[in-house]
């Protein structure tokens, strides 16, 4: 009887603590890597700037899952409505990570310009309880 309370509560706590530490660490890591790629121009336009004569398809992807704590918070939110900040930060992290992986690939080709960037977010491998993971896929054309 008592276990039916202890288990969900400890999962929420575990999700909250570990999730928060991981998030802070990830954001710090993102800042640092974005800083090192400041010279790469990102664009979602299709135009090719003058003097670019080489192109290469580049992409980056990441699959993330939502922690237990955030799911609970979101389910409370779904009762009252409004902004779900816990999911927002998660999606931001995933998107920035996917873009960075794409830039990383472009960097391998010595490219300083990525054109026609498209970002796609989708729910993947959803199970019967409706808990899925999110995939963010970023792609574009690296020009040099």
């Amino acid at each position: 009887m008592i276990f039916s309370f202890i288990i969900p509560i400890s999962l929420v706590l575990l999700g909250f603590i570990v999730g928060r530490i991981n998030e802070a660490r990830h954001f710090a890591d993102l800042e640092e890597r974005e800083d090192s790629f400041k010279h790469v121009v990102l664009s979602d336009l299709k135009t090719i700037p003058e003097g670019m004569n080489r192109s290469q398809f580049v992409s980056g992807s990441v699959v993330i899952s939502i922690d237990y704590y955030k799911r609970i918070i979101a389910s409370i939110r779904m009762f009252f409505g409004g902004e779900v900040a816990s999911y927002q930060s998660l999606l931001t992290r995933a998107r920035r990570e996917a873009i960075l992986r794409m830039i990383d690939e472009a960097d391998d080709y010595d490219s300083k310009y990525i054109a026609n960037i498209r970002i796609e977010t989708s729910k993947v491998f959803e199970n019967d309880e409706g808990i899925g993971s999110l995939e963010v896929y970023a792609y574009g054309t690296a020009l040099s």
């Binding site: 575990l14 004569n53 192109s55 992807s61 990441v62 699959v63 899952s65 989708s122 491998f125 959803e126």
Partner: protein
Amino acid sequence: MQISNLESIPGTKIIKHLGMVQGNTVRAKHVGRDILAGLKNIIGGELHAYTELLTESRQQSTDRMIAQATAMGANAVLNVRFSTSSVSAGASEIYVYGTAVVVETE
């Protein structure tokens, strides 16, 4: 075979349009990966196994599209688009499409 999501490849000229080419894959996750993912569903974070799985399936779809383009005699696929959708519990489809063309260096 050159792949691009732009409508042209810099330094080249399109001399022939061959029509649309496409490729798809539906992939299911397996139980081993699911257990790990179940743990991650508690603490959150990246699911590396799934990232790899989807990268692999995307590569497979792209290869199928390229095979189709090669069969048509194309040497480039332009304006490539990707789409991902959850088709049923535990399975995802990756679909890629583009226009097969013949390009010539200017």
